[in-house]
């Protein structure tokens, strides 16, 4: 199994920590002039998204994680798994479970491309694009002509997700651009 020494650590490198694959975010060299050298490393646990900070003695090695990130097209869900297909014309598919899809479930739209993180060929995370366009399936009736007033309301989207901060003039059937990082309304999509 490949290992990385602290002096090879770079942001974006995938390593194993406590049995979970992690993505290195930051690597800081810490050393008192007359003391031991350390690397203080921030990494994101790729399974649960949590950020961990660990300090290693410089020169220590940790195991590399076999992690790749692929752009894949979302196909459908069978209720238990969410199926994605490679975009390289191989038609190869993977099935992601609930823990991999997690909150991204709110933004899954068929034929849209998502980033799927594979660890030892198993999907462990699904990242949506920063913006998706989704149709409104339910919201209070729109107020005609009210485009300037600052009032907002919630709206339910085709994925089942409910977003807040939607302007009052939005109607059922409108397509909205949503920021998936914040879960907030951005604009009405041009149709």
């Amino acid at each position: 199994m490949a290992t990385y020494s602290t002096n090879e650590f770079r942001s974006g490198m995938k390593v194993m920590l406590d049995g979970d694959p992690c993505n290195i975010l930051e690597n800081e060299f810490v050393k008192p002039g007359k003391g031991q050298a350390f690397n203080r490393v921030k990494m994101r646990n790729l399974k649960n998204g949590r950020v961990w900070e660990r300090t290693f003695k410089s020169g220590e090695s940790i195991e590399a994680a076999d992690v790749i990130e692929l752009d894949m097209e979302y196909l459908y869900t069978d209720g238990e798994f969410w199926h994605f297909m490679k975009t390289d014309d191989s038609y190869e598919q993977v099935a992601a479970d609930q823990s991999a899809v997690a909150d991204s479930e709110n933004w899954l739209k068929e034929q849209e491309v998502y980033q799927v993180t594979l660890w030892n060929d198993d999907p462990i995370a699904v990242t949506p694009p920063n913006f998706v366009e989704l149709e409104v399936t339910d919201t209070d009736p729109g107020l005609k002509g009210d485009t300037a007033n600052g009032g907002t309301k919630p709206a339910t989207l085709s994925t089942g997700a409910t977003i807040k901060g939607v302007p009052l003039f939005i109607n059922i059937g409108d397509v909205l651009k949503v920021d998936t990082r914040t879960g907030e309304y951005v604009s009405r999509a041009k149709t």
């Binding site: 800081e28 060299f29 810490v30 050393k31 008192p32 410089s58």
Partner: protein, 280 residues
């Protein structure tokens, strides 16, 4: 296209030039004379936590001018300083670079307390006057007894980072971290100090150990630690020991990381903001 531009802004580099000139003027006005020590020499230091860059066939790039400057002092050189490059293998980060600029000076007849005053005077000239607080090593990390050296080094590094804002002299290091400082009369602590400014280690000074046998003993411990850790063996610098046997005058000395000072002076966050270029 290759990125040929300097890392630092021209403004920062002009400020560096001004600080270099001010530091020299400060020392010269106090009759501390400039010396030039070769950056490349046959031997280097045994310290297990400082790694030298070897130049095959020639020796090592010097991690500090300490041994050669002490050879000058033993030969009759008065109080003197060197402002020039120093090299350390494997040190790279926001506050580290394998090549950096060190200001090191020795004061005949001074002890570490007198030298701390002088360091504060110099920093006041370079960065503007501010108050200094004095803390012992124990104030900074708590009792060191029974704690491993690794744990202590990390605790110390992290505690220093929290010493911000402000200027702090840390004194009374444990005797096993004396480096080349003499041991205090209590037998437990060393006559060593460090200056930390806004959480960044800036200078390290000693009331210098003079005894040649004690040096030999400390180098032997260094070599044993090197062996335990699987680090390259370093030959003891016999010319340095011979100079000590001849006799080093009573003195105190300090080494100051000049780039870090320039960084603080310019309000920069990383060494690379005040360095023209980076070798690697």
């Amino acid at each position: 296209m290759s990125n040929w531009r300097p890392l630092a802004s021209i403004e920062h580099l002009k400020q560096r030039a001004e600080l270099l000139a001010q530091a020299r003027a400060f020392l010269v006005a106090r009759d501390v004379i400039e010396v030039q020590i070769p950056a490349l020499a046959r031997d280097s230091i045994t310290e297990p936590d400082v790694q030298s860059i070897e130049v095959p066939g020639y020796g090592y790039l010097q991690t500090s001018p300490e041994y050669q400057m002490k050879r000058l002092l033993a030969a009759g050189m008065p109080s003197c300083y060197q402002l020039g490059p120093a090299f350390r293998h494997g040190e790279q980060g926001m506050l580290h670079n394998p090549e950096f600029t060190m200001l090191e000076w020795y004061r005949l007849g001074f002890d570490h307390n007198q030298l701390m005053h002088e360091v504060a005077d110099l920093v006041d000239v370079l960065l503007g006057p501010k108050p200094y607080q004095r803390l012992t090593y124990e104030d900074v990390v708590g009792k060191s007894k029974g704690r491993g050296r690794d744990a202590l080094d990390l605790a110390f590094a992290e505690a220093c980072e929290r010493l911000t804002p402000g200027r702090f002299f840390i004194t009374d290091y444990p005797a096993d971290q004396a480096a080349l400082a003499r041991i205090n009369p209590d037998g437990q602590t060393a006559a060593r100090f460090e200056l930390v400014i806004d959480g960044i280690e800036i200078a390290n000074g000693y009331w210098e150990l003079l005894d040649a046998d004690e040096h030999r003993q400390r180098f032997k411990i260094d070599s044993e630690i090197r062996q335990q850790r699987g680090l390259p063996a370093m030959a003891v610098d016999e010319a340095f020991l011979a100079a000590l046997e001849h006799g080093l005058p009573e003195c105190a000395g300090v080494a100051l990381g000049f780039d870090r000072l320039v960084m603080l002076g310019g309000g920069a966050k990383a060494l690379s903001d005040v360095m023209a270029f980076r070798g690697s």
